[in-house]
């Protein structure tokens, strides 16, 4: 058995872990039905250590095979299992691997055959269809049956599909907004804290454009709306996109206005909060 070093092998030279394994088996002139699993596992592992690949998906495929090899190796070390495949013995732990390797070998051979066939046959050309006109043959057109019922059914089908499509979309968006709710709660706390400290503050002072993510500002804005709705604060904005001044409402004013508004919905909402 040659040394365990497998130099000058790049991972992209191999189509996958089976290809690599197959290469090691051929290179070492191993009988595929009697693989010295310990040796092969060592060689495989030393290759894995030496490889560098940025692609985690590719790497993981090679690692899965490594795990399989180590598993087989450990099974082989259990007492009662000998090498060689003869009917009298119990199941050889390498059997599944051998089947896979044989399968893959056949796949490679057939692939090679297909490549050769393509190189040979692909240049064959067919002729463009002769047009009846050039043969002075006139082709009568055959009318296409039109079924008004099918037409009407099709209309219904499109409408039904669109209904589902947009219901789906809007529920997705609602879901996205719902997810924000968690952070909106936090933001409500933050806004309330600032207002408790200062009494009045501009929205952009709590959520400065330069220092906060858009999402955070939107959540903050939602929080302000929630606080407005529960009548804890007031907000003033002269026109769209202008600055927003937030101020805390005093407990007394809040109660008064709540009674004034007498909106049961608000009361219920507030109780929840």
């Amino acid at each position: 058995m040659p040394s365990h070093r497998v130099p000058d092998l790049k991972i992209d030279r191999f189509e996958g872990p089976l290809d690599l394994l197959f290469h090691l088996i051929e290179k070492n002139d191993i009988d595929i039905y009697d693989i010295p699993i310990a040796e092969i596992t060592d060689q495989y592992m030393s290759f894995l250590h030496g490889m560098s690949t940025p692609d985690m998906e590719v790497a993981s495929e090679f690692l899965v095979m490594a795990a399989t090899l180590i598993h087989i190796k450990s099974k082989m070390m259990l007492p009662g299992i000998r090498t060689g495949v003869s009917p009298e013995e119990g199941e050889d732990p390498r059997e599944e691997l051998v089947i896979r390797l044989l399968q893959y070998r056949r796949c490679k051979i057939l692939a090679q055959d297909l490549r050769g066939r393509y190189a040979y046959y692909a240049g064959s050309l067919t002729k463009l269809p002769t047009l009846p006109k050039t043969l002075e043959i006139t082709v009568q057109s055959v009318p296409q049956e039109f079924e008004p019922d099918c037409f009407n059914r099709a209309i219904m089908a499109v409408c039904a599909r669109n209904e589902v499509r947009f219901a789906d979309l809007s529920s997705k968006i609602t879901h996205l907004l719902k997810r924000e709710k968690v952070s909106i709660r936090d933001k409500m706390k933050a806004v309330w804290q600032k207002l408790t400290e200062k009494g009045r503050i501009f929205f952009h002072e709590i959520f400065p454009v330069a220092e906060t993510e858009k999402e955070e500002r939107v959540a903050g804005f939602m929080a302000v709306l929630e606080l407005l709705r529960s009548n804890r604060i007031s907000a003033d904005q002269e026109r769209p996109f202008d600055v927003i001044l937030l101020s805390k409402k005093e407990e007394r004013t809040r109660k008064e206005s709540r009674m004034y508004l007498k909106e049961p919905h608000h009361v219920r909402k507030e109780n929840q909060t």
Binding site: L125, K127, L128, T130, P132, L135, E136, I137, V139, Q140, S141, V142, Q144, E145, F146, E147, P148, C150, F151, R153, A154, I155, A157, V158, C159, R161, N162, E163, R165, F166, L169, S170, I173, T174, L176, L177, K178, E180, K181, K214, E215, R217, V218, F221, M222, L225, E226, L228, R229, A235, Q237, P240, F241, D242, I244, H265, H266
Partner: protein, 222 residues
Amino acid sequence: MTETPTDVFTLSRDELPAALEAVLFASGDPVSLDRICEITGTDKETALEALRRLTDRYNEDPRSGISVRRLENDYVMCTKPGMKSILERFFRPRSRPPMSQATYETLAVIAYNQPVTRAQVESVRGVSSDSIISRLLERGWIQECGTLDAPGRPVLFETTQQFLMEFGIESVAEMPAMDLMMYSTIRDLEKSLEEAAGARDNRQVSIEHLPSDPDYPDMGHL
């Protein structure tokens, strides 16, 4: 293939007949003697002789339905005149399979939205409808009717007289108003959903620009 294909290529005398035949066959159209000489790398005399043999071989073989004909300085491979009746049978239209649901859907979307572009049809149906539109054109149910004044100048389609006749003009007048068949509705729905989603990331927020949301029932009133 080599880098300078014109020079190195040579055909043996034995290879010439098959080469000529392949070229005339694949071409479909007449090929000039000059071009034949150029491709095969032979002189006119040799080419002419080979063409003569080829012509004879086809024209004199009763088992063959193909002939090779000379038209001035061009050569063409075509079916023999006696083959006309069998070819008439070949080209005779067969009854067409009934139109699929997808075809009816596409036709319906066009009928509701005409004049309408491919992209608009796709937007209403929610799936690509290109090949179906081609088939509808071919079968005469729809026709092109100008282009939309928008980037790329997409082609507009409308239904044809044939459609009206088959479907019945009365039926067209009776087509129920269907919001969800209309491109304008779909576009508005898509836009408002986009805006609702976009509020999360790409919009300066102001009180007037809030999405209405069932979870925040009051926001519309603010």
